[in-house]
């Protein structure tokens, strides 16, 4: 009887997964085997391995890597400080709050901030550094992405730091370790799980960014995400767009597998 009931409860979940996860994936895979004239072919896959697309792939992975790296660099110390704060719930709330605001709104806010004659530009001019193009550069794209992803990195790291038993830290000090040695040999390894889930939570979405790329980087940064958008909305080459999506999905699977296995453990 219980078995039957469990199955009944599963129906909505299975329907959801089937309709919104498996079916789209299957369709993407299906479309990837058709060229722009609608003929079945492997041409798209061959095209992916031409320099244009390979460069795009490398650039995507590179940007995602930098975004993840800088996010981690900011998020880890922040999460650490957070665990030592008096009213950490409040601070945590303040960090989570921006994630409730639509990403497009935030992107437009940054366009205003970073644009020509915007506050940052003006400040730079006043400080004597001179006016320069800030918006529509690779670095502004990384900067804004890092800003957007920071909360998603902080949360898992904060949680693992919270769970870290303070007596491990004391034991390390007791055994003669300096603050840095304690961090490197005890605190960081014991919060690696949080770091890994944070890196996953940032790297995977960063790999497929396209809206933000367009708005902040203009056409200076071309990634797989923007290429998919281009193929679907501009060139109408759904087959090639799907093929790129297939490779993106494969990349994500690889990242998850790597992070799950704990390759960072050897650190």
């Amino acid at each position: 009887m219980t078995k039957k009931w469990t199955n009944t409860y599963l129906i909505p979940y299975v329907l959801w997964i089937g309709l919104f996860v498996v079916a789209p994936l299957a369709m993407v895979l299906y479309y990837s085997f058709f060229d722009i004239q609608g003929h079945f072919s492997f041409e798209n896959y061959l095209r992916f391995f031409t320099p244009i697309y390979l460069k795009m792939a490398i650039s995507s992975i590179g940007y995602a890597f930098f975004i993840t790296f800088f996010t981690l660099l900011v998020a880890y110390p922040t999460a650490y400080l957070l665990t030592r704060m008096k009213n950490r719930r409040l601070w945590l709330m303040l960090i989570i709050l921006p994630t409730w605001i639509n990403i497009l709104l935030k992107a437009y806010a940054f366009i205003g901030l970073l644009g020509t004659y915007g506050p940052v530009d003006t400040l730079l001019a006043m400080s004597g550094a001179g006016r320069r193009q800030i918006l529509f550069t690779g670095s502004s794209f990384v900067f804004v992405s890092v800003y957007l992803f920071i909360p998603f990195m902080i949360l898992p790291i904060y949680n693992s730091l919270e769970k870290l038993n303070s007596s491990f830290v004391e034991a390390a000090y007791d055994l003669g370790a300096s603050a840095w040695a304690t961090f490197r040999r005890v605190i960081f390894p014991l919060t690696l799980e949080g770091v890994k889930s944070g890196c996953q939570a940032v790297f995977i979405p960063a790999l497929s960014l396209f809206m933000l790329t367009r708005l902040i980087a203009g056409n200076r940064v071309i990634t797989l995400g923007t290429a998919i958008e281009e193929h679907f909305l501009v060139t109408q080459d759904w087959g090639m767009g799907s093929t790129i999506a297939v490779f993106l999905i494969l990349a994500m699977v690889v990242v998850m597998a790597l992070m799950g296995k704990g390759w960072l453990k050897r650190w």
Partner: protein, 366 residues
């Protein structure tokens, strides 16, 4: 301070947020001895250990280590290692790496580290456990790894915060013996924290009995057991009968409506006192014999002995430990030696107590 002294507390006080946790603690710890801090939960034992280890700074007073004031020296710069109450073994390292931790911090080479780790594991009877993961160990084994991890650094003082409290009774008793032997073999100072008075009596060279942030009494297990300074110590160290009495003159005390010979002196005439007699010092005699008559009210079999509660004619309760049993409701006689009577003065300080004892025992009391 003598040459033997390794740690000294001088009028150390500790406050947390204005609340006084330790008040005016002074003591000297000598090299190579086994000390126990004994007291009920919350009395400040861990706080004292943390002051010695360097995790806390005293609010007042000074702590001296090997002749040097160490109030502000951080824990990683002290020649003291701690066995934590929850062991605090690093879960991401195996047994070998846990034990090697302090040596690696001190930048020893692998060649130097390996024999020392093996020797430390040998000391705690864990030969061949190097490659085990921490999660695979039992409570007693974790305990030993924690000790090995501390002693491998050859500290001058080893601090142990209730290390046996998580173990079952049998293992605990075995570990008590092992720890005591280990201390003797290593020849370093152990400062051991426990709330278990039997453990303290069994293991220590010297016991500090703590209560509410104060040292009530310090001394050898024997002297603390035989001559508790006050009601708290008498009660905390083993079972005892504590009865109000009057000191008639030197070596004569009256309680329970009768007059008895005793061995205590140095009191005022007709001073109100409390007398302590340990349950195992009471001997059961037939009704009418002995020094006191009681009616048995309850009896429990405690394994080795019977524990009986009797009431005398004055209404005082007497706890009796005896291998003989009695029937409930039975009238029996109780006999005890003059040495079994210990007289306590109300509100006597430890110094005054020691002075009074020395005045008539000579150098007999230590």
């Amino acid at each position: 301070m003598t040459k033997k002294t390794i740690i000294q507390f001088d009028h150390v006080a500790k406050r947390f947020d204005g609340e006084i946790i330790l008040k005016d603690i002074s003591f000297a710890i000598e090299r190579g001895k086994f000390y126990t801090l004994l007291g009920p939960s919350g009395c400040g034992k861990t706080t004292i250990l943390r002051l010695i280890a360097g995790f806390l700074e005293p609010s007042e007073g000074t702590i001296t280590f090997d002749g040097r004031m160490v109030n502000k020296i951080p824990p990683n710069k002290r020649q003291v290692n701690t066995v934590f109450q929850d062991y605090a073994l690093f879960p991401h390292l195996n047994v070998f790496e846990n034990v090697a931790f302090g040596l690696r911090i001190n930048k020893l080479t692998n060649k130097e580290i390996e024999p020392r780790v093996k020797q430390a594991l040998h000391f705690v009877n864990l030969d061949g456990y190097q490659n085990r993961e921490i999660a695979e160990l039992s409570g007693g084994q974790k305990q030993r790894v924690a000790i090995a991890r501390a002693i491998v650094n050859q500290p001058q003082v080893l601090l142990l915060d209730e290390p046996l409290s998580a173990l079952d009774l049998k293992l605990r008793t075995a570990m008590q013996v092992e720890l005591r032997q280990l201390q003797r073999r290593l020849g370093i100072t152990f400062i051991f924290v426990t709330h278990d008075q039997e453990e303290a009596l069994a293991m220590s060279d010297e016991i500090f009995v703590l209560n509410q942030g104060k040292i009530e009494q310090s001394g050898s297990p024997r002297s603390i057991y035989d001559e508790p300074i006050n009601r708290f110590v008498a009660d905390f160290i083993g079972e005892s009968n504590i009865i109000p009495g009057t000191m008639l003159k030197d070596r004569v005390v009256s309680f329970a409506g009768k007059t008895f010979d005793c061995v205590d002196q140095g009191f005022d005439e007709r001073e109100a006192v409390e007398i302590v007699i340990r349950p195992e010092d009471l001997e059961i005699k037939p009704h009418g014999e002995g020094l006191l008559q009681v009616r048995i009210e309850s009896q429990l079999f405690r394994g080795v002995h019977y524990e009986m509660i009797g009431k005398d004619e004055d209404g005082n309760s007497w706890m009796i430990h005896s291998t003989k049993s009695a029937r409930i409701g039975e009238e029996i006689g109780l006999f005890f030696e003059p040495e079994a009577i210990h007289v306590m003065r109300h509100g006597e300080t430890e110094e005054a107590f020691d002075r009074r004892l020395e005045s008539y025992e000579g150098a007999g009391h230590d």
